[in-house]
Symmetry: C2
Subunit: 506 residues, 2 copies
């Protein structure tokens, strides 16, 4: 006969069920703000979100929680069904509790206030390309971020940067990231030169010309989502200025935006967000209301979106099947609509200033620049006043271009100005993870490439469901990737993928 | 120098600001459920709503609240700016607190459970027209409703029915309602005969024939909303199966549904919901987060929707301006599109079985039937088993028709089966209030009729804003209506309106 769940653990399950309902409600309200809310409701929505977040924080830092947690950890788990999941859940609870209690309330409020202030100033500063305008607010915010890093580092027993990183990438380590990025850094500059030389030789491909009516783009997006395995009974597609994947595992809300001159940007955006969405929809139903049942971390999440957007969506096999469908969908034809022309258009590489417009090859350089700089800022090795110059120097060294102004330099991303420090490296960790997972999937299931060549994402999704999604947070990111691919993350597969796509098979 | 707000009252302002943010969040999530949510998310949304409602209830019944309230009530209010509003706010807080604490938690949960169960069974029973199938569940639910009425009656010092009514119609009294409805009851049957005889003499009007494309109906609805004064910066129009007006005063979410064969139903639905919406948008900004700043009650709310839908929207003056716009909007013409034909179509009277399809003349009979029956059921004067028969008898007496089955009889409305007892009378109180307000508005501002005849709702809205909306809940319903119209509610103006529209000027 199975043993019952220890009472303290049962109490925590109930408590975190409520917390998860609050998180889900917050998530839907945030989606609504971006996709539905009329502009005049912004102040009241801010209040609603603050009140719900406050209740969430109260519940998460309730005085009886440490005792419950200690009792549950010390309880007898032999014979309890799913003991591994329960114990991993307790570990996640401890991590969340440590983050929530590390900061005194005054610091939390000061951070929230300084973030809002700095973000608002940044919007104007970016428009005017005037870094000096936001510098004081950024200095204030950075001071509080550093205080917060110190408090979290003490609570978690990590270094400063890792303490911030841990919120996005549980268990992440800047030492590991340094090693991985160093590998890329030695590889990329020369590789980029080769790719650009090759692309210059073959010339720029023609690009499908618009207009592409919005309604047609939308139906193509939905059809593609369905092809990938998105469950519309548990999610929807809408429009927002900044596309994202929000909502809850059982009610995924993803958004895109349409450019009637260029259907490829919305379409690949939808594929990207659907990758995120499939991860959420694949989380184990039985654990969805518990911390262990949530997605593992930002690098794993980004790996799911990039796997579909980059590894699959820009592959020869997938495009060979997809491009004729697109032609038929828009009722178009001509040289720009040849499969190979489209393939070349969506794998075009350029040295650019803007991260969100960057291609697969140059993207890591953008991320490495930001990771280096935020680390130096947090460590106190770089003064905020020196950020624009340091940005230009690093961009020049890593990518060979120096932005002509700060709007296209250190003012382009919202992250720092909004208080999100330690987030940037997860983009490139995600790209590397995606390559490693996709390669392992094809080795494990030789039917995957053939299915993809027929536009059938199901066998790939099945493997991802089994090896990644269904495991939620029961394993560490490292252990998860090792079980799925046979080894922890390294840059080898990613580099091999780039070499193959952009040189050997270009 | 003005006196400061007493500290206990300041604490309550803060507390009820949080409660109001929770209510607003709940309201947006409920709108989302009806208008946006994918069906598969229903169970998790139910959990989110339950958790937020539970937190709301905890906050509203916090142990320190009675002392704060007593201290605030006993405090010195002389010299405090807006003391009248503050004190009315305390009265509203006391009323809400009394409702929230009247029922033991076990009864609240039993009621919630029995309502869900009964409502689910009712859906099937209605479809099968099988009252017996839902009878046991309804008996259980009624037993709990009666217990709840007893507990609330004790807490509020009222009779059983008034205790339930008070939740929808604060300060409402069944004795007053009896007198008002008795007046209508002596008037309506003979009046209805006369109207039907007249309409038979002139014959049925031709009705505009579809199809009316949904997109065109939607743009017409939006144009009409704008004409009425709806502020799209603080609200939006969407689609749901059961149209409603939800959201918050600063973010009103109204819905409709489109029938491509009949644009009039959606259009008048939009006008109705916009009437509700204008009330919400007109609530005083400074008090929106407090109980006193919310709408007065259901009869006043319904008066705002019916004022626009019935008093204005079906008037000769408004239609003379609107119908040509509709013709142009749909690019149509012909006899069915003559102003007078449309007027006759939208003021057509019929003895029918279904309340939600009823016209302005027969609607009160439907409401009186339900009010009588629910009162008898709550008092224990009518057994649930005898409901179908009693329904048929009363319908026959009041409206001259007997439904051939229970689907078109006592199974047609969700209210009782979902636990909403004491709600029905507010529909007809609203219709009477609408007539009285519209008449007073035109007397007070002689420019209103001329403006309406030019499709300009602004002067009427200005008067409603001043006399009704801006007063929120600072006065009782009675006092509010007396200040606005010179006397408390009676049936005279409503009857005069019906006589004029359906006989004298028909």
């Amino acid at each position: 006969m199975p043993s019952p769940i220890p009472p303290a653990a049962a109490a925590l399950l109930e408590r975190f069920g409520r917390l998860s309902a609050l998180e889900d409600a917050l998530s839907i309200l945030q989606w609504d703000r971006a996709a539905m809310m009329p502009e005049g409701a912004a102040p009241e929505r801010a209040t609603q979100l603050a009140v719900l977040s406050g209740l969430h924080h109260e519940l998460l830092t309730a005085p009886d929680l440490p005792d419950l947690l200690a009792a549950a950890e010390a309880a007898a788990w032999e014979g309890v069904p799913d003991a591994v999941w329960h114990q991993a859940n307790l570990a996640e609870i401890r991590r969340r509790h440590a983050h929530a209690t590390a900061l005194p309330r005054a610091l939390v409020e000061a951070l929230s206030h300084a973030s809002s202030t700095c973000e608002a100033i940044w919007r104007g500063a970016r428009q005017d390309s005037d870094f000096k305008a936001v510098q004081p607010a950024l200095e204030t915010l950075l001071g509080l971020v550093r205080q917060s890093a110190e408090a979290k580092a003490a609570a978690l027993g990590t270094g400063l940067y890792d303490a911030l990183l841990d919120e996005y990438e549980p268990g992440g380590s800047i030492a590991r990231i340094d090693a991985l990025f160093a590998d890329l850094e030695t590889f990329l500059p020369a590789f980029l030169d080769e790719v650009l030389a090759h692309q210059a030789r073959v010339g720029a491909p023609p690009r499908p010309q618009g207009p592409f009516p919005r309604a047609l783009q939308e139906s193509l997006g939905r059809a593609t989502m369905a092809q990938m395995g998105f469950d519309f009974r548990h999610g929807r597609l809408d429009v927002s200025t900044h596309p994202f994947c929000g909502g809850t595992p059982g009610d995924v809300r993803l958004t895109t935006r349409y450019d009637e001159e260029d259907f490829l940007s919305a379409l690949f955006g939808v594929i990207h967000e659907t990758g995120h969405a499939l991860y959420e929809q694949g989380l184990p139903e039985a654990w969805r209301t518990q911390p262990v049942g949530r997605a593992r971390g930002m690098s794993m999440h980004e790996s799911q979106s990039l796997l579909w957007e980059m590894q699959v969506g820009r592959s020869r096999a997938w495009l060979a099947h997809a491009v004729p469908l697109w032609r038929a969908h828009f009722g178009r034809s001509g040289p720009a609509w040849e499969v190979d022309a489209v393939r070349r258009a969506v794998t075009r590489v350029e040295r650019g200033f803007i991260r969100v417009e960057a291609d697969e090859v140059t993207y890591p350089a953008h991320v490495i620049v930001r990771t280096r700089l935020e680390r130096a800022l947090i460590a106190g090795d770089l003064a905020v006043a020196d950020l624009p110059g340091a940005w230009g120097d690093l961009m020049e060294r890593l990518l060979g271009v120096r932005p002509p102004d700060d709007r296209r330099g250190c003012l382009q991303d919202i992250h720092w100005y909004d208080g999100a420090w330690g987030y940037f490296p997860t983009y490139t960790l995600g790209a590397m993870t995606a390559a490693q997972l996709f390669s392992a999937a094809q080795e494990a299931e030789p039917g995957i490439p053939a299915a993809l060549a027929e536009g059938d994402g199901r066998p790939l999704l099945d493997w991802l469901r089994r090896m990644v999604h269904a495991r939620a947070s029961v394993l560490s990111t490292d252990a998860l990737l090792t079980e799925a691919t046979g080894r922890p993350l390294d840059a080898a597969v990613f580099k091999a993928h780039l070499r193959r796509r952009y040189l050997d098979e270009a």
